[in-house]
Each structure stands twice: as structure tokens, then as C-alpha cells.
């Protein structure tokens, strides 16, 4: 146990239902008043292999996952072989009778005596829930909601019986596990993952069109939008490829539907031609990229922050863009909302850059507040009728955007260099003016850039810098260092492009050493800081083994 939190790991093969067990436990913990932070580590296969679903929970708010396991639910022997070494003092293992546990404090569950083989999952869930002190009725309700069937149904009844027997069995066992006391139980909270939050944020901004091609770990963004599409009046399509997806979204956006695509590195590679088209035609578009390790197919289900520069530079030619990099699930919601607004305001592509760790990380959230939110309102402005010009040169670079078919104005968009009306031109002097017009939007984008978030003393000996999903692990590492009496501050960038050095350069100068921490091998953000703000970090800590950053990893690297 670490810092009043507990780490529960469920391990097994793909197809054993460990995600269901994990999700029900996570939800039951949230309903019981705990804060949670889930990390999912899975292999690129539907059956077999080795997957884990880890829930860190606490009565306090959690920023980051941590290492060490307090309760290990092993659905197979391999889980024990791989993770017994990670057990903390006063931990417990839930394993089937006959599994070899070695020195581990093992509770060998006689699954077959307690329930039919089909309900092995439910028994494991019941034993774990009982050890954590959760209420059986609450777990039963959560399980019932998860299997999507009603009371009285045979499957629900049998699951209930299995759960009851598991609870009864576990209560007769002795162990030294000490779950943290829950916070205010009964408080209404949401359980949400990063991908879900991006989708909900976009819907809250009035997303009306989504096209995608399935790609781990981004698919849940699309699936979340689709699951609410009818309620929210969204049109969606699984395209034939990512090229089609982005071009469909651009067609829809041109015609006035706030639009988004979601993908991962390889799919984004296919989309880049369309990103450039968005830049040239000045069509608003949100591109959510959930990163995974590359190059090429890389580690399809693991995490990395390796596509920052690719998101920044993907697409031929020069055009303005913005890149949001949310650090938490709550920030994912805000990013989904803001990205749509920014895209419309500047009529240019806006990215949301996340990664597998954050995408799949379920967290407990205070209910999201819709008050004060407003929808994107596409179109409007400019001269009427014959005099309307889609690409009228304006001071800020943003031209009046009318929508085709909604008035007598003709809206002409072109991928070729064009005149103010939108028609092809090879007038090279005009080309310069049009390029200047497009790039003039950067000034507004810089002015609207979110300032990085500082925490800790201004003149700290060490300033730990994070962007995107590394925020939580860095925040917790800094807290632990501060508890040891070290002088540490943090700075988190929730938007990584454009950078506005005026917002942070002075504060960086006051710090002793600057350490940039990110999930890649080459220090992409550290390089960007140097190029854009002239800040040369003294150290770079990277992680690129496919796993998420943890406070422990950061502390080990800092100490080495």
C-alpha cells in the first residue's frame, strides 16, 4: 500500500473476462466512495496471452497509477509467475486451488465447489470485493447493470448465487489486507475513461459528424460517440480507410457539421494528406490521435507519447494548427469541447493528442457540469449574395464562412491555391497573400493557447515538466520528493502547440534544473521547448518500453 491507496491487479488471459471483473470492481469502488485510477495492459490478441487490469483506489484524489500490488487476483498461473514479485507487504493473492503460489499470501479459492465453471469470474469478483470490504448488494447491482440483464433472469440469478457464495467463503478466510477507509460514501460520481471523456466533450460542443476506421487504442472514442449518436443527433460512419474517414469529415464540416475523426499513429499517417487539405481549404476539423508505440505497427496495445512531432508536422505544406494534450480524464472532456470550438474559430485542424494509458484509464469524476457550455455555431458573416468570398483576406486570417445550400451565396473551397473567391489561381503574388492570410491565424491561436499549469515553489531546485498523460505520474513523483523535503515544482502543458513562451519562459529561468519527462525515446517536447522558447532542459527522462510512466519510474530515473 502506498500513500493511503491500494493497488488491485487482476491478471489472466484475453477471453477470461478480466476486464468485466475489473470494470465491475472499479464501478463498485466508485459507488462506495473511493477515487480510482485504472491502467490496462493488454496484448494484441482476442484470446490467450497475458493481460492485466489494475485499479489503484483511495479515499483521496488520485493523479497517477503506481507500482506494487496489494491484492492480486490471478485468473491463471502465469499471473502469479509474472506478478508475485510485485506484491507489497500486507498483500493478498486470490488464486484457484492448485495454483502454485510460493511465498505469496495466497487464498486458494475452490472455484468448482462454489459455482459452475462459467461463473469463475463472478466468484473471483466476489472474493476480491469481500476482501476489500465492499457491500455485496452494491456489487450485485453493479454486476447486473454490467451484464445488461434484469432481475429474475436465469443468468442474473446464477451470477448472484455465485457472488453470494464467494462472499461467504471469503469472509471465513484470514488475511492481512487493510483497504483504505472510503471517503464520503454515496456521493454521486461518474466513472469515465479518457477516450469516453474526449467523445463526451466533443458531443457537449455540438459534434454532429464522426468518421473513423477502427484502430487501437482510439476506437473507443468512436464507439462512445456512436452509442449516443441517436440521442445527440450525430451522423457517423465507419469508413473504408482513414483516408476516406478524414475526407468524409472534411466534406461534412464544409457543409456545416462540426466534425471529428479519431485514429492512432498508423491511421493518422494515412490521414495526413487530408490534414493538409483541411489547412488549405480552411475547413474546421478535430483529429483525435491516441498514441501507441511505433514505428509502423509497433506495440499496438501499449502506450507511448511518440507522435507529438508527427502530429505537429503531419501534412505537406505550411498551415496553422493547434494540439491539445490532456493530462487527465477530466481534461480529456475539456479538450474534446475546446478542440471543436478552436477548430471552428480558426477554421483549421485541431488535434487532441492522447495515448493508450490515458485512453483506457478509468477514473472517478465529480459529475461533469454542462452549465456555461455552448455549442459550436458554424458559418456566418461576410458579404451577401454575389459579393460573398469564401477566402476574403482579413486581418486575423479568418475569413467569413458561409455554408453551402443555406443561402444564395456560393461557397467555393479548393485544395489548389486559390483566389479570395476560392477559384484556382497561379498568380504568385496572390499566393503569397493567401499563405500570409492563412498563417496569420497563428497569432490568434497563440493568444488562445492554454497556459501551462505550474505547481510548487517558483524558485524550486528542480522543475519537472510534463505534457499530456505524463502529468499525473510527474505530479505524484513531485509530491513524494517534496515530502522528503526536496525543493520541487512541476509544470504541465495541456496544449503543446502553439507554445506561447511569454506564459512560462520567465518561470523556467527561475528554476534550478529543468527536467522534461515524457513517454518517448528522443525527448520530442524537450526539443520543442528548446526550439520555440530557447529553453534547454538539463535532463530528459523518457519511457518507451510500452508501459505508462509511474512515480516510481520517475524517481528511480531521477536518482540514477
Amino acid at each position: 500500500m502506498s500513500h493511503d491507496s491500494m493497488n488491485l491487479m487482476i491478471g489472466g488471459e484475453a477471453g477470461q473476462g478480466l476486464v468485466t471483473v475489473g470494470q465491475v470492481l472499479a464501478k463498485a469502488l466508485v459507488k462506495s466512495g473511493y477515487h480510482i485510477l485504472v491502467t490496462q495492459d493488454y496484448m494484441s490478441r482476442v484470446r490467450g496471452g497475458h493481460n492485466t487490469f489494475t485499479i489503484r483506489f483511495s479515499s483521496q484524489k488520485l493523479d497517477s497509477p503506481c507500482e506494487g500490488v496489494d491484492l492480486l487476483v490471478a485468473l491463471n498461473q502465469q499471473t502469479l509467475d509474472l506478478h508475485a514479485g510485485e506484491l507489497n507487504p500486507d498483500s493478498a493473492v486470490v488464486a484457484e486451488t492448485g495454483f502454485t503460489c510460493g511465498q505469496a499470501p495466497c487464498l486458494n479459492v475452490p472455484y468448482e465447489e462454489l459455482a459452475d465453471k462459467r461463473y469463475l469470474n463472478t466468484v473471483a469478483l466476489g472474493v476480491a470485493a469481500s476482501l476489500l470490504g465492499l457491500e455485496r448488494e452494491l456489487v450485485a447491482q453493479t454486476l447486473e447493470a454490467a451484464i445488461g440483464k434484469k432481475k429474475g433472469d436465469k443468468v442474473v440469478e446464477e451470477n448472484n448465487q455465485a457472488l453470494e457464495k464467494a462472499f461467504a467463503w471469503a469472509q471465513g478466510q484470514t488475511h492481512t489486507l487493510k483497504p483504505p477507509a472510503p471517503a464520503q460514501a454515496g456521493e454521486k460520481r461518474m466513472m469515465l475513461g479518457g477516450n469516453q471523456a474526449i467523445a463526451l466533450g466533443a458531443l457537449a460542443a455540438g459534434l454532429k459528424f464522426l468518421a473513423f476506421y477502427p484502430m487501437t487504442p482510439s476506437t473507443a472514442i468512436a464507439l462512445t460517440v456512436i452509442s449516443h449518436a441517436e440521442q445527440m443527433g450525430v451522423v457517423y460512419e465507419q469508413a473504408e480507410d482513414e483516408i476516406a474517414a478524414i475526407n468524409m469529415a472534411l466534406g461534412a464540416s464544409y457543409a456545416g457539421a462540426p466534425a471529428m475523426v479519431c485514429t492512432s499513429g498508423g491511421g493518422y499517417a494515412l490521414m495526413t494528406e487530408g490534414v493538409s487539405l483541411a489547412g488549405m481549404t480552411e475547413t474546421p476539423l478535430v483529429i483525435a490521435v491516441a498514441m501507441r508505440p511505433g514505428p509502423a505497427t509497433g506495440l499496438p496495445t501499449r502506450t507511448e507519447q511518440g507522435d507529438l512531432l508527427f502530429a505537429l508536422h503531419g501534412g505537406h505544406g505550411e498551415f496553422p494548427r493547434a494540439i491539445l494534450a490532456p493530462g487527465s480524464v477530466k481534461q480529456c472532456f475539456a479538450a474534446g469541447y475546446q478542440a471543436l470550438h478552436l477548430a471552428e474559430k480558426y477554421q483549421t485542424p485541431v488535434f487532441i493528442l492522447t495515448d493508450q494509458f490515458l485512453a483506457d484509464s478509468l477514473r472517478a469524476l465529480e459529475p461533469l457540469d454542462l452549465s456555461g457550455l455552448s455549442p459550436v455555431r458554424p458559418g456566418g458573416g461576410g458579404a451577401e449574395g454575389e459579393d460573398y468570398r469564401r477566402y476574403e483576406i482579413t486581418e486575423g486570417g479568418v475569413s467569413p464562412r458561409r455554408l453551402p445550400g443555406l443561402g444564395p451565396e456560393l461557397v467555393v473551397a479548393d485544395s489548389d491555391e486559390h483566389d479570395q473567391e476560392g477559384h484556382i489561381t497561379e498568380d504568385l503574388e496572390l499566393r503569397v497573400r493567401m499563405q500570409d492570410k492563412r498563417m496569420a491565424k497563428m497569432k490568434g491561436l497563440v493568444a488562445d493557447t492554454q497556459a501551462p499549469e505550474f505547481s510548487g515553489p517558483e524558485d524550486a531546485d528542480t522543475l519537472l515538466v510534463s505534457w499530456g498523460s505524463s502529468q499525473g505520474p510527474v505530479a505524484e513523483a513531485a509530491r513524494r520528493l517534496a515530502e522528503e523535503g526536496q525543493s520541487v515544482a512541476t509544470c504541465h502543458f495541456g496544449q503543446v502547440w502553439p507554445l506561447a513562451p511569454a506564459q512560462f519562459a520567465q518561470r523556467f529561468k527561475k528554476a534550478g534544473q529543468v527536467v522534461v519527462i515524457e513517454g518517448n525515446a528522443t525527448g520530442q517536447f524537450a526539443g520543442l521547448l528548446k526550439k520555440e522558447a530557447g529553453i534547454a532542459a538539463q535532463r530528459f527522462i523518457g519511457r518507451y518500453d510500452g508501459l505508462n510512466l509511474t512515480p516510481e519510474y520517475i524517481l528511480r530515473q531521477l536518482a540514477s
Binding site: K188, R189, M190, M191, L192, Q196, L200, L203, A204, G206, K208, F209, A211, H228, Q231, M232, G233, V234, V235, E237, A239, E240, D241, I243, A244, A245, N247, M248, A249, L250, G251, A252, S253, Y254, A255, G256, A257, A259, E273, G274, L277, T281, P367, L368, L370, L373, L403, P404, G405, L406, E409, L410, V411, V412, A413, D414, S415, G422, H423, I424
Partner: protein, 285 residues
């Protein structure tokens, strides 16, 4: 009644004698005959000589990327079902670079009219083989002749039960205008593959070559477009004789019809329901 003059006269970058002039003329005639005004239509194109068409008449225009006219047209139509959306591009664009999109569009059946200016050559890049070039055709890029079997868009479309499949000829403007008018009236995807001589680069499939071969279905030969077997047979007739006219029709429901939200008007004008949004958020509690 809409007058063809509403569509304007503009200078083009096409070669004198190009088949695109006739296609443009037929298109404008069909639009006027369909009582469609310039602001009610959207022309989407890719890249190529044919893809410049939207710039040469007054209309809403999305001139996107090579091969990508159908996806962009699909998105625009799904955002505003009040727009009459026409994708207009060449054989290289539609069948080569956009081949995957072509197949997907045939399956998807969105209410878009697809005009394929099929000149069996790449014109804009000065005379390389296209997916529909006949075997044996010599070009600078294929000095020993084209060795790949030509793509047959009409046969592929009929085989996939596309709701409206026609073949037109740029040398028969009035006939072509009639086909485009029928295509515009079709509620799902409509394909008009248009045989188009390229006077600069295709020395094989010339006006003369086509004129000797084409014959009109319904006028010079009986054909029931509802007869799929007959349509399949006709779609493979491309040699001594080439049929032009409506090859195949059916009434398969359009993709658009599966989204009731589209009946409420353009998505851009539909309010966001924050009550519904609150319920969505509550479902995660």
C-alpha cells in the same frame, strides 16, 4: 424554370476539343432541366482535368484531393440532405487513386450522383495509362503497351447492385444530359460513366472510334434496366459495339435513409439538446 445562363460562362484550362466541354454542357442542361439553381447544388471533385469542372460553372464547390471526391461528397451529403451533391472527376481519380472509395461508395449507396469523365488516359499529367486504358495501348509510361486488364466500372457497379448505373458519351450531349437528369433524380448512389475522348493524349479512343461503336439503349436496342442479368451482359459489351444509356436500376434504400436526423434539415441548423446531453452524462454515474 432555371435557365442554363444562371450557371455562367467561364474561361477554362481545357484543351480545345476536349470532351469535358460537352460534359459540362450536358451537366448544366441536366441541372436546368431538373430545376436546380446553382446554390442548391454542390459539386465535389478530386484532381485531374475533369476535376476542374466545378470551377467552370457557378455552384457550390469542394475541389479536394486526387481520388477523394466520393468520401468528401459522402460527408457533405450526410451533413445536409437538402444539397444535391454531384461528384465529378476522371477515371484516374475515381477508379485508380480512389478505387477503394469507389467500391465502398457502391456498397454504401449514399444519395450522390457520380459523374466519371472516363477518357481512358491521364490527361493532366500528360498521357499515362489509366485504370480503364485498353490492353496494348502505348504511352510514354507504358512503352511496351498496357499489360493490365482494363477496369470495368459499369460491370462492377451492376454486380454490386448499385441503384442507378448508366454509360454516356461526350459526343452525344443531349443524350448525356438526359442520363444525368435521371441520375440526379435517383434517391441513392447514381453512377454515370462517361466515355470521353482526350484529343491530346488518347490517340486510340477518339471521337471517331466511339462514334463507330456506341448505340443507344431504348432507341437502337431494347433493354429493361430492371433486368439485372441483362444489365450484367450489357456491362461487358465494350468492343465492336458499346451500349450507352441506363444499364441498371433498382430501388435499394439509400444510406441516408438510415439516419432519421437528416430529415430534420441540415445538421448545421439543428440545436444541440443539452437535456439529452445531461442524460448521457448521467448514464456514467
Amino acid at each position: 424554370m432555371v435557365d442554363i445562363k444562371q450557371y455562367g460562362e467561364v474561361e477554362t484550362a481545357w484543351c480545345p476539343g476536349c470532351g469535358n466541354f460537352s460534359i459540362r454542357k450536358a451537366l448544366i442542361q441536366a441541372l436546368a432541366d431538373s430545376d436546380l439553381e446553382p446554390h442548391q447544388i454542390l459539386l465535389v471533385s478530386g484532381i485531374g482535368q475533369a476535376a476542374k469542372t466545378p470551377h467552370y460553372l457557378r455552384c457550390n464547390c469542394f475541389n479536394g484531393l486526387h481520388g477523394r471526391s466520393m468520401p468528401a461528397a459522402t460527408g457533405a451529403r450526410l451533413a445536409n440532405s437538402g444539397l444535391k451533391v454531384i461528384a465529378t472527376s476522371g477515371d484516374g481519380c475515381n477508379y485508380g487513386e480512389g478505387g477503394n472509395h469507389f467500391l465502398a461508395a457502391l456498397r454504401r449507396n449514399v444519395n450522390v450522383t457520380m459523374l466519371a469523365h472516363d477518357n481512358q488516359i491521364y490527361g493532366l499529367t500528360k498521357g499515362q495509362a489509366s485504370p480503364t486504358s485498353l490492353e496494348g495501348m502505348h504511352t510514354k509510361a507504358q512503352p511496351t503497351g498496357v499489360h493490365s486488364y482494363p477496369f470495368n466500372p459499369v460491370a462492377v457497379a451492376v454486380s454490386m447492385h448499385v441503384g442507378f448505373v448508366a454509360r454516356g458519351f461526350a459526343g452525344e450531349v443531349e443524350h448525356l444530359a438526359g442520363l444525368i437528369k435521371q441520375a440526379l433524380a435517383h434517391p441513392g448512389l447514381s453512377l454515370v460513366d462517361i466515355l470521353q475522348p482526350c484529343v491530346s493524349f488518347n490517340k486510340l479512343n477518339t471521337y471517331q472510334w466511339y462514334k463507330e461503336r456506341v448505340y443507344k439503349l431504348g432507341e437502337e436496342a431494347e433493354h429493361d434496366p430492371a433486368d439485372w442479368d441483362a444489365a450484367i451482359r450489357l456491362s461487358y459489351e465494350f468492343g465492336e459495339r458499346i451500349p450507352i444509356g441506363v444499364i441498371y436500376t433498382n430501388d435499394r434504400p439509400a444510406f441516408d435513409s438510415y439516419f432519421p436526423v437528416l430529415d430534420k434539415g441540415p445538421l448545421a441548423t439543428q440545436e444541440v439538446d443539452y437535456g439529452a446531453m445531461q442524460k448521457v452524462l448521467d448514464s456514467y454515474c
